[in-house]
């Protein structure tokens, strides 16, 4: 059953990735025009520009360039950085590990908070508590990360002096020190995501509370705690899983801002500095990596959803 689901879902992910890779490739190779000129500057010798373009393989037909680029990419050879003149892959790997730490920190905080907030609002649906949680969550969700970061830095870094203002921890820091340094940078992401998660958790809980199976469970005399745990939450939190996975894709955009602001060497600040320096191989590799992670995450979410949802499991429909 799961295999059949995978067989249907996997080709879609692959097509998405193919389109994405073509778009990223065209964005990096076609739009910039003369890359050698852009990298070396307007005053550079035309011969130096031509030499640079030849050395980087930019003077060949596009389809050949794409073919060699994507086939090398698939075996882990992501090209050579224009800026550093060394392979791109190690930069991506280091940045991913760092971003993963920051993202994990944010998710560990926001997932329980968001679910708690959403379920709490749902249990008091229509009251001021409900409205306050919903409005607060959604208002916070529309404020750009650099604004909330600035305010948080001012409060916790400058005025209260509780937390370091940069995520750049000392070299030989242990796990606890790293967590301490990551706490403030993770908060802007928490603020952005709280509203989304709370909204979905609230909607799911409201629906489940209203469902016939909940009424049956209450009427057959189960205690409220058991009804909540076994019947309401189990059904309510399914859609939340899908939303969390879709946030992983959005997360990368937030990371660009937050990592740049907090001087943190992750995939977001890597994309930012590569875009600044017009280092297209680095940019393409980083962007495609982000896209691939999103594709895997959404595939995993769909799979998890299918595994957990008895209706999908039995019906076989996707």
């Amino acid at each position: 059953m799961i295999l059949r689901f995978l067989a249907k879902r996997l080709p879609l992910s692959l097509i998405t990735l193919l389109i994405l890779s073509i778009a990223v490739f065209l964005g990096g190779q076609l739009l910039p025009g003369d890359v050698g000129r852009a990298v070396l500057g307007p005053l550079a010798d035309p011969r130096a520009v031509a030499h640079f373009n030849h050395e980087m393989g930019i003077d060949r037909p596009l389809i050949l360039q794409y073919g060699s680029w994507i086939s090398r990419f698939l075996v882990g050879n992501m090209g050579v950085s224009y800026t550093f003149r060394t392979p791109v892959a190690p930069f991506i790997a280091d940045a991913l590990v760092n971003s993963l730490k920051l993202a994990a920190m944010a998710f560990v905080l926001v997932v329980p908070l968001g679910i708690l907030g959403g379920v709490w609002a749902a249990l008091r649906v229509g009251t001021w508590t409900d409205r306050a949680i919903t409005l607060l969550g959604q208002s916070l969700g529309v404020v750009p990360e650099f604004i909330s970061s600035i305010v948080l830095i001012l409060i916790f870094g400058v005025w209260l002096r509780w937390l370091p203002m940069s995520a750049d921890w000392p070299d030989d820091s242990g796990a606890l020190t790293q967590i301490y340094y990551l706490f403030l940078p993770s908060l802007p992401l928490v603020l952005i995501f709280f509203g989304y998660i709370a909204r979905v958790a609230r909607a799911g809980t409201v629906e489940a509370l209203d469902a016939d199976y909940t009424r049956t469970a209450v009427l057959k005399g189960l205690s409220w705690g058991i009804v909540l745990r076994r019947h309401v939450l189990r059904n309510a939190l399914l859609p939340t899983i899908t939303v969390i996975a879709s946030l992983i894709g959005y997360l990368a955009g937030g990371l660009v801002i937050v990592e740049t602001l907090f001087h943190y060497r992750g995939i977001g600040s890597l994309i930012y500095s590569a875009a600044k320096a017009k280092d297209f191989p680095m940019l393409e590799a980083a962007v495609l990596t982000v896209g691939a992670i999103y594709a895997v995450a959404s595939l995993a979410a769909d799979l998890l959803n299918a595994l957990l949802n008895p209706r999908l499991r039995a019906g076989g429909g996707a």
Binding site: V142, L154, A275
Partner: protein
């Protein structure tokens, strides 16, 4: 005759009344209206020339002369915050307009004709969703170079398939209704059916979609300007001001906090207005 005309008129006045009662809509419109006034008349409202350097009065804390203090070049922060509304309130609406026009046309087309184009657009939308807008924009702007026009184009083009998807699903529903079949039987051309018959019926939905997108556009223009890929200096734009001054935040908080509050108020205002419009238009 009157009986035929009565329902729409009653509907409209009912909508107006509902709009007047909606607190979120009014608060949102008030905030947005305030910033639009600043954007249009900013240079006349500002008490001090927002672009004038004064190297004898740099980084002064808020005072009676400089309500929000001065920045590194001695420019009056209060005046700059007021004038700073102009560029973001030019770029973001234009980007939204571009995306809405193209997205509506595309959505009508693929929703009405379906077929291969429909499939292709759906796939492209899915691929686009794999990347956050900030990253798509960074990549495109790094490639074509940064200018206000480039920002409008990039955000407009990214919005196009997203808006097209919403329009498409509404057009699919409308296409199956009798009035569309009647128009076709009457011998109306495809363009007539799409733009004269279907478009007026999906217009409320397009308005809602556009206001929601406008909120996103503000968000992204502000973020891109902060990153140096959006509006460019010497504009008094809030994002630029924050980027220029946030390294000073430890000692000179007034150089960033007012711009931050201004940005936050604008995005929340637009969000409330969009939310209000949505609940008014959806019966």
């Amino acid at each position: 005759m009157t009986t035929v005309l009565a329902p729409p008129r009653r509907l409209r006045s009912e909508r107006t009344r509902r709009a007047a009662r909606s607190a979120t809509l009014l608060v949102g419109l008030a905030i947005l209206g305030f910033w639009v006034l600043c954007a249009v008349f900013g240079s006349r409202i500002a008490p001090i020339d927002p672009y004038a350097d004064n190297l004898l009065a740099t980084l002064e804390p808020p005072s009676w002369v400089h309500w929000f203090g001065t920045d590194q070049l001695g420019r009056d922060v209060f005046s700059r915050v007021i004038v700073g509304a102009r560029d973001i309130l030019t770029v973001a609406p234009l980007a939204t307009l571009l995306g809405t026009l193209l997205g509506t046309a595309l959505g009508l087309f693929v929703g009405y004709h379906r077929g291969a184009v429909d499939d292709l657009v759906s796939r492209i939308i899915e691929a686009l969703q794999a990347l956050p807008l900030v990253i798509v924009a960074l990549m495109a702007l790094a490639a074509v170079g940064t200018s206000n026009l480039a920002v409008v184009m990039v955000i407009g083009f990214v919005f196009t398939p997203l808006i097209a998807r919403t329009v498409r699903s509404a057009v699919l529903i409308e296409s199956s209704l009798d009035y569309v079949a009647a128009a076709r039987l009457r011998g109306d051309g495809a363009l007539d059916v799409m733009f004269v018959e279907i478009l007026p019926n999906v217009l409320p939905l397009i308005v809602v979609e556009a206001t929601v997108r406008f909120g996103y556009a503000i968000f992204f223009v502000a973020s891109l300007s902060f990153l140096g890929f959006g509006i460019q200096p010497p504009s008094a734009d809030w994002g630029i001001a924050i980027a220029e001054n946030y390294s000073l935040i430890g000692s000179y908080w007034w150089t960033v906090i007012f711009d931050a509050i201004a940005t936050a108020s604008l995005v929340v205002g637009v969000y409330l207005a969009a939310d209000g419009i949505q609940s008014v238009l959806r019966e």
